[in-house]
């Protein structure tokens, strides 16, 4: 039961929790949280895999940094969509 395997299991657990949360709830903000938890799970699997080389694998680290930035910009768009979706009375006559 090496460290890598433990964090792989935690990562897969987080990924499944996110997927379960995505399928189980209707609340728009909770859905966005579920997506973020799912992405954290995936990134944990990647970083846990990165520890198999002695200086932690720089390629996987770069991939996860890219993934993080992509996740935050997608979350920003999703949250703004959730906010404007909720305020249907918003004046969008333009």
């Amino acid at each position: 039961m090496s460290t890598t395997l433990f964090y792989l299991a935690i990562g897969i657990g987080l990924w499944l929790m996110g997927l379960h949360g995505l399928l189980a709830t209707r609340q728009s903000i909770i859905l966005v949280l579920a997506i973020n938890i799912m992405s954290s799970g995936t990134f944990m699997v990647m970083v846990a895999l990165a520890t198999h080389s002695d200086p932690v694998d720089p390629v996987l680290q770069a991939l996860v940094v890219t993934g993080l930035v992509v996740a935050v910009s997608a979350t920003a768009l999703a949250l703004r969509l959730a906010a404007s979706r909720r305020r249907r009375t918003e004046d969008d006559a333009t």
Binding site: T3, I10, A62, A74, L79
Partner: protein
């Protein structure tokens, strides 16, 4: 596992799973968001524990910081009901259990596997222009990924521009917040600049620096020191587009005049990387600030 580490890893792992479960099944939206921010900080700790300092910086700044601010501004602006009534329907827990076993057995042999890439990165590190391997991968070996990623941030802002975000005007700040904001702002600029400069030979880089600067920008905007940034003002547009513009220009010029697409000329890769990093930091800082506090009248054409 080495003797004392299993205690730390065990508690950290359980804490992560409990916080994730609490964030998804909390009674009220407010509690769910607070749990999620705590999860973000725990993740930052996990990345540091797994020996990835770049990620710990990025996760703390991006995951807990900006995402937390976005969540709270959405909660506040949309005036969502803070108490969630509907409890999620319990889809049978058999399916996730089965999937967990499937995925875990798939991942079981992976820790022993080895990849040729890290040694290759180390071998080519000296002629990549920077001495920190992660920055070398991000901005030289896989520069095309980073270019697309900076344009993903830009597209997110373009998407938000179409949504005419609800015009919750910025509340009048308390004197205490004014003082604290004024103190924090220069500190974030210093830390951001330091992270950017150190990115070439130590953990840090454009994205972490951009996010810290964005945090400073949001703080200044909330206390009213920073005027509303408008998409109609060309400096703001130039700042937002700087990252992608410079990257595409470098790609086009190297493809046209140089040896190939994003193939930096031998001597000048360090200068080019620094230029791209500077521009990417500026565009990420401005874009994230606009994403968090960009109001209706600012983002409209």
């Amino acid at each position: 596992m080495p003797d004392a580490e299993w205690l730390f890893d065990g508690t950290l792992g359980i804490l992560l799973l409990v916080l994730a479960g609490a964030a998804l099944h909390a009674r009220s939206l407010y509690a769910a968001v607070v749990m999620f921010i705590a999860l973000g900080l725990m993740l930052a700790l996990t990345w540091a524990r797994l020996g990835a300092p770049d990620l710990a910086l990025a996760e703390a700044a991006i995951g807990a910081g900006v995402t937390g601010a976005l969540l709270f501004s959405t909660l506040y602006k949309a005036g969502m009901d803070r108490h969630k009534r509907a409890t999620p329907n319990r889809i049978a827990l058999l399916l996730p259990g089965l999937a967990f076993l499937l995925l875990l057995t798939a991942a079981w042999p992976l820790p022993e596997m080895h990849s040729p890439l890290p040694d290759q990165v180390m071998a080519h590190l000296k002629d990549s222009g920077v001495s920190h391997p992660v920055t070398a991968v991000l901005l030289n070996f896989r520069a095309w990924d980073t270019l697309l990623e900076v344009s993903v941030v830009l597209i997110a802002l373009l998407g938000v521009r179409q949504l005419y975000p609800s015009h919750g005007e910025v509340p009048t700040p308390w004197p205490l917040m004014l003082a604290w904001g004024r103190l924090l702002a220069p500190l974030t600029v210093i830390v951001g600049g330091y992270l950017l400069w150190r990115g070439t030979d130590a953990p840090g880089g454009a994205f972490q620096a951009g996010t810290v600067l964005a945090a400073g920008g949001v703080a200044l905007r909330l206390i009213g020191v920073l005027p509303p940034l408008g998409w109609h003002q060309w400096p703001v547009r130039l700042l937002v587009l700087a990252g992608v513009l410079v990257f595409v220009a470098v790609a086009a010029l190297t493809a046209w005049l140089g040896q190939g697409w994003l193939h930096y000329p031998t001597g000048s890769s360090k200068v080019l990387i620094l230029l791209i990093e500077l521009m990417a930091t500026a565009s990420i800082a401005t874009t994230l600030t606009l994403l968090v506090v960009g109001e209706k009248r600012e983002l409209r054409p």
